[in-house]
């Protein structure tokens, strides 16, 4: 299961935000998408999930692109947005049912998974409520549960840690680790660099719409010729360079 982004040029209008970005997320890998505010992380994610069309370049999951077979492409992917997005009119239970319907999941099996996840995130007694009235952290948990009951092989997770309590953060990281061993690929954008350094297998760093560095921590250290630097130090260095160029 591989996500391949090749020479992606794109953005919201004719003026491209992303300039020639290429990277890969391989099976069993957690890749951190890292960059300052406005660097182009969310734009990249929007292209991958298909909200924006690439102006140039190609995005494929296992060789399948959104253009050639949209249903297959969408079936393979699950997405957790940065800000929780919920249906005003649906209860928590109905959110789960809807996800099962949309992705044609086998109901019994999916509910088994769902119940386990609901218990993990302490939502099991809120099934009949409207999650639109939950707190930010709890809404985020609903997003996580909905994404992880699918049988997706690619998970796109946009800044998941804000608003989550430490216990839920750990549970989410465990879930990601489990999906990795099952062979899924995960792309996660985040600003929580200590967590990223600890858990991500490799990194994609973006600045002003351009790819500035990629690879695992050892590669990055070599690239910035800072053998002992932490991810956070490399990131700050990158930001400084970017500012000088701006």
């Amino acid at each position: 299961m591989t996500l391949k982004v090749e020479n992606l040029v794109g953005g919201y209008s004719q003026v491209p935000v992303l300039k020639d970005i290429s990277f890969e997320v391989k099976q069993g890998q957690l890749v951190g998408l890292i960059g300052l505010n406005g660097a182009g992380k969310s734009t990249t994610i929007k292209h991958i999930i298909g909200l924006l069309q690439p102006q140039k370049g190609k995005i494929t999951i296992d060789g399948v692109s959104l253009k050639t077979s949209p249903q297959v492409y969408k079936q393979k992917m699950a997405y957790i947005p940065e800000t929780p997005i919920l249906y005003e009119e649906l209860t928590l239970k109905e959110h789960l049912e809807l996800t099962m319907m949309a992705y044609c999941l086998e109901t019994k099996q999916a509910w088994e998974k769902a119940n386990k996840l609901l218990k993990t995130f302490r939502l099991e007694n809120k099934l009949d409520w409207f999650p639109a009235n939950f707190s930010k952290g709890m809404k985020q948990k609903v997003m996580i549960v909905c994404a992880f009951i699918t049988e997706a092989s690619l998970y796109i997770i946009d800044e998941p840690f804000l608003g989550l309590d430490p216990l839920a953060t750990k549970d989410l990281l465990d879930l990601i680790a489990q999906k990795k061993t099952e062979g899924a690929a995960v792309l996660m954008s985040t600003h929580v660099l200590s967590t990223a350094q600890e858990y991500c297998d490799s990194f994609v760093m973006i600045d002003q719409g351009q790819l500035t560095a990629k690879g695992n921590l050892a590669d990055l250290r070599q690239q910035f010729s800072a053998p002992k630097a932490s991810l956070s130090e490399i990131y700050l260095e990158l930001a400084r360079v970017g500012e000088r160029n701006a």
């Binding site: 298909g50 949209p70 249903q71 297959v72 997405y79 005003e88 809807l98 319907m101 992705y103 109901t107």
Partner: protein, 404 residues
Amino acid sequence: MLNLWNERQSAHQRQMFKYLRYVFNDHFVLALLFIFGGLGLGYSNYLKSLPLHADYFYAKPLVALILVVTLQVGNLATLLKSADIVFISPKQAEMPSYLNKAFNHSLLFAWGFDILVMLCLAPFLLYATTFTSIQLIYLGLVVLSLKYLLLKRQYLALYQHKFAQLSYKLLLDVFFSLLICLGALYFNGLYFVLITAALGIYVERMVKQIQTQEVFLWEVAIANEQARMLVLYRFFNLFTDVPFLQAAAKRRKYLDRFLPRPKPKHPYHYLYWRALVRNGEYSDLIIRLNLLGAIILYFVHEPWLAFLVSILFIYMLGFQLMALYRHFDEIVFTHLYPVTEKQKLQAFQRVLQVTLGISALLFAVINSLQTNTWLLGGEIAVVLFLEIIGLTGPYLKSRLGKRA
């Protein structure tokens, strides 16, 4: 802070005028003229039929009741906004001057209303009881001071939770008001003017004291103001679209059993029905148009007019419900589901057909009941079903095509 109040107030007035233009459109003004004209005529005829100073036993309690009910009209308008909790809370100490402005403004408005009520009740009191005009003036003064006290209670509730409690509200707004009104009606009104005035001075001092000792309850104040505005917006929403009105979804659990169960591959069928039933905007629209249509049809005697009205109402309902098609477009997941646009359209057509079909049946049945023959009802049903097929088929597609 006084500048802020003035700015807020003029912005608020501009907004209200904008909406009032929609409320008082030509048809509505005409209807109001007729209604008030009719009511006024009926009232004056009733008064003329009464012997002077008849002193009916029910007159005074009735007036007291009307006064207590009308006293509840008009709330403290603070015009606070939810962002104020961040931006203005540093100016905590200057809040009293802002609130006093707000209070005075609200009081003037409420007094205007109360004076109107008193003017309407005055002839009744003079005819149906032994009231003299000086007693009438005393009663008026008592009502105005009561309104002052009730608004001050709302003011105090912005500093102390206990003033917002239901028991307090019932005790002060209802029970105390009723007692004072009855007192002013049955005994010498002058005493009660003095009592309420003395209470007013006492409450005024209490407010000053509480303002120096207690913390302004921002969240309560903002929630109150939002609830107040919501009532206004709901009213305006009957006449035009109010963008501020995000009708919160209602659970309506008792309707769950009628909603479609989850069925693989049909997420939109599931979604649209739930939005239709639980989203206030759509359910209100359906109820409103069906009720209005049914009532009009019941009073229409001309068959051709009945046809026209039913066709028009089905069209209005279908036309306005078409917004539901894009109701979920803001939710990114609907773009991510492995579901085609065609499935979405089919589900929507189905939902629309069933909803309009039920209305068509309702209209047909009303027509049959009204004409006492099934013939007209049957004809209307056939015509309406043809209309629905056209609306949900070619018409819907052309409209969606235009906007895409």
